[in-house]
Symmetry: C2
Subunit: 245 residues, 2 copies
């Protein structure tokens, strides 16, 4: 084994999940390079990533990436894994990498993976005119670099978190109905729940606050709207931890 230590380039890659009440999407960047004669030289899709600047923390870099692409701040964001196989960007991808970067392919690229959760409707994709678009998770068959792997691991981490902690509402507008919340869980965890049992469970979660407000303009009985209260959540969480989980 070689004991040589590589130079390393750090990038923060964000898997931005967006829910549109029907399916789970990921924000992808369309990298298309046009030749001088107008033909497409090369095209692929990648996750959204960037470098960490000199005076930034990792989280600041991730926040900046989210802001650049969506125009949004204070989005739910979680660091889930770091990727750094020595040859992860080489082999088949070398040429693509060099097309878009001037870096030395001998260096190792280390990606710190984050996932973000938001409601697609919050985002105006025309923001800054980037080649960015939503793509349903289950239609993504290929991504540039090793971003397919990063997406898979993000999905695992996100599902795991969704099962154990109340983050489902992060994929919905601030005010949401219980049916919408149930759909978040059903679609992401690929299952179905009994409506009455789901509501009984929600009723026990004191941090989901029922509002005196209903849906408007729907062609059926309008549903009551709910909000998440972080304050109540932190309080009950502490109580639980005091008596131990």
């Amino acid at each position: 084994m070689s004991n040589k230590i590589l130079n390393n380039y750090i990038s923060v890659d964000c898997v931005i999940f967006g829910f549109d009440f029907e399916k789970l999407n990921v924000l992808v960047v369309d990298r298309t390079l046009i030749k001088d004669n107008g033909e497409i030289d090369f095209t692929d899709l990648t996750l959204t990533g960037n470098h960490i600047y000199e005076d930034e923390t990792i989280v600041e870099a991730a926040d900046r990436i989210i802001y650049d692409l969506t125009g949004l701040r204070n989005i739910y964001l979680e660091q889930f894994k770091t990727f750094a196989a020595p040859d992860r960007l080489k082999k088949e991808n070398d040429r693509k990498w060099l097309l878009f970067n001037d870096r030395n392919p001998d260096n190792r690229i280390v990606s710190i993976g984050f996932f973000a959760l938001l409601a697609t409707q919050k985002v105006t994709l025309e923001w800054k005119g980037r080649n960015v678009r939503w793509m349903p998770v289950d239609e993504i068959t290929e991504l540039g670099f090793d971003h397919k792997l990063i997406l898979s691991e993000a999905l695992i981490a996100m599902r795991n978190k969704l099962i154990h902690e109340p983050i489902g509402f992060e994929l919905l507008p601030e005010k949401f109905t219980l049916t919408q919340l149930q759909k978040v869980y059903e679609i992401i965890l690929d299952t179905t729940f009994d409506k009455r049992n789901f509501r009984k469970k929600v009723a026990r979660m004191k941090y989901l606050i029922p509002l005196d407000e209903k849906q408007k303009g729907v062609a059926h009985k309008p549903a009551r709207l709910y909000m998440f209260s972080r304050e109540v959540y932190e309080k009950t969480r502490k109580e639980i931890l005091n008596f131990l989980v």
Copy 2:
């Protein structure tokens, strides 16, 4: 904000937790530098870390670090977080860092944090004669660099995992008693459990296999020994996931 991108040095830092039936310990490295005249120039404790070599994956580097320090392979290991504040190793620690390293302090040091779980008795600390020793977690008040922060985050991640997944036995010898297992949970989660209820719960976990073997040489009724079966665990886990968690 500066858009300058730093050079980055990647290190893999391992928080090696060891349980000795009574308390949770961490493997720390004693860094003591002696002056020419025999006086101690400087001393502190740090976590165990190292660089990633050219042809290694992150996990291989972590495995190598564990092996170098303990002589053990196939230890439970989990990547939990990556640390990279721009000034994390500077300020007060600059001198210490330079004493032990020839690197440029302007570069950013990125640490990929792992935690490992094992029974202290498995380790022969004389291995390779390193300045390495066990230290009880709750006696660690200070560590070099920002390793105290890394330790805190490792503890949070480890406790969280311990609550949600069966990893407690990783801190015990291959064959263990239920009282030993109960103690793992009680000490790490800082609580107590009722013995009968704990055993009822364990009885439901089919992957904890009772053996036809008992403790020997103890001055009380000898306890039955148990083993973890990964095979049974993977099977029941799949069944659970099929019907959804």
